[in-house]
């Protein structure tokens, strides 16, 4: 295959509605994997009172030669997922120019599925603020655990992080089942199980991440 053929193939495959959704599904699934790693690291905040465990972990990460690679990979995944999401959503909106006067669901939509775009955008805004808080605007040498705790103990921290992780949880209730379906992984025998697992994933990850702003806000206020 010549270079030209490869480009045509790329466009035909990933420019199609199914191909772009498949890319969204792949990027989304890897991002879910990242969320688990992120949660694991964050849980170290609860390991001790002075944040030494978390700080040790953060320092180890910062000195890892793999960090720039991982960060670049994450940035790419997020960008691809977001750009595709916006593109797919625009095409979907344009596909119905005149709205129905009366619209009643046949009962299959879920709160998560209805709000994928909205929750996606809230996550995006949250992500920018979150990176600004802890990645871009961080005083040199300070304990990261301390900075995190102070930020989350403030009312604005509670609101921002609370809203961000709740949107994430809602997004995820539909994300797993949708992604598997998009990739063609579906079997009637496992359908109900996958639906439940997807809902559980959103619920559990949402609550787990919510625990940080809740604990530090309540603890900080006391």
């Amino acid at each position: 295959m010549g270079r030209c053929h490869v480009l045509i193939w790329l466009r035909r495959t990933f420019g199609s509605s199914i191909g772009s959704k498949a890319l969204m599904a792949c990027t989304g699934l890897v991002l879910i994997g990242f969320l688990f790693a992120h949660l694991g690291g964050n849980l170290l905040l609860f390991a001790d009172a002075d944040g030494a465990a978390f700080d040790a972990y953060a320092t180890a990460l910062e000195h890892s030669p793999l960090l720039p690679l991982a960060e670049a990979g994450l940035a790419l995944l997020f960008c691809a997922h977001i750009v595709l999401g916006v593109r797919v959503q625009r095409a979907n909106r344009e596909a119905r120019e005149t709205a129905y006067r009366v619209r009643r669901t046949h009962g299959a939509r879920t709160p998560g599925s209805r709000t994928m775009v909205a929750t996606g955008l809230v996550i995006l805004l949250f992500l920018v603020a979150h990176l600004y808080d802890f990645r871009l605007c961080r005083p040199e040498g300070d304990s990261l655990a301390l900075i995190v705790r102070e930020r989350l103990a403030s009312p604005s921290g509670l609101v921002l992080y609370g809203a961000g992780v709740l949107a994430l949880g809602l997004h995820l209730t539909h994300a797993l089942r949708s992604a598997l379906h998009t990739l063609g992984l579906h079997h009637p025998r496992y359908e109900a199980l996958v639906d439940r697992a997807s809902f559980l994933l959103g619920f559990v990850l949402g609550l787990a991440f919510l625990s940080f702003p809740l604990v530090f806000f309540l603890g900080g206020a006391a």
């Binding site: 509605s17 191909g19 498949a22 596909a95 119905r96 009366v102 009643r104 299959a108 939509r109 990739l183």
Partner: protein, 256 residues
Amino acid sequence: MGASPTTLRLTLHVWRQASRDLPGAFEVHHLEGISVDMSFLEMLDVLNEGLTSQGREPFCFDHDCREGICGMCSLVINGQVHGPDQEITTCQLHMRHFADGDTIVVEPFRARALPVVRDLVVDRSAFDRIIAEGGYISTDAGSAPEGNALPISTAAADEAMDAAACIGCAGCVAACPNASAMLFTAAKVSHLAQLPQGEPERERRVLAMVERMDREGFGGCTNERECQAACPKGISVAHIARLNREFLRSSVLGRS
């Protein structure tokens, strides 16, 4: 049993649109003495007869067999494709699903790829163009072959038959939040991909049909399953998963 009325008084809000390029609007009509045993289309017939006898334009709506097999009837009734019942077409909907004094909003299927031709009639030729890209097999049929000459597993035959139940009404597009034609295209692809007769054109078919589906201006699938819930033939979104599988496999591993 309480004494439920055998005739209904109804207020109808019906979409009126003179042609594709002119703006449409709802018209309000009042009907009395509608029998609960009438079908929804018979109720519209009564409305149209009344209008005609007053020298006014009747409403255009699609229908043909009036027994749920041809796929011609359409309509979104109080926000639901083919009305409030499960797994039926509009022609199979009966007025006993409505109550005396009800207001019923009757709209055409709405999607950019299914433009209104007039009133409640939409142009579904986009579906024909998707079929024309590969929703067939190109063997010379000849006379019917010996039944046992082509071995097909019962499971595959059953699933192919389930997909073949699609009557192409476009209710899936109308019900989809994104006006996507994935369930229709999936039913056609899934039907032929599971049978040996469909095998020779299997890869080319799915790529061409999906490309045409996208080009017609339908939206994409967000796996909300409203199509399956609205489908008069109960066609499962499992066929959409198979379409995705067929498309991705043919794109990535295909020989063309």
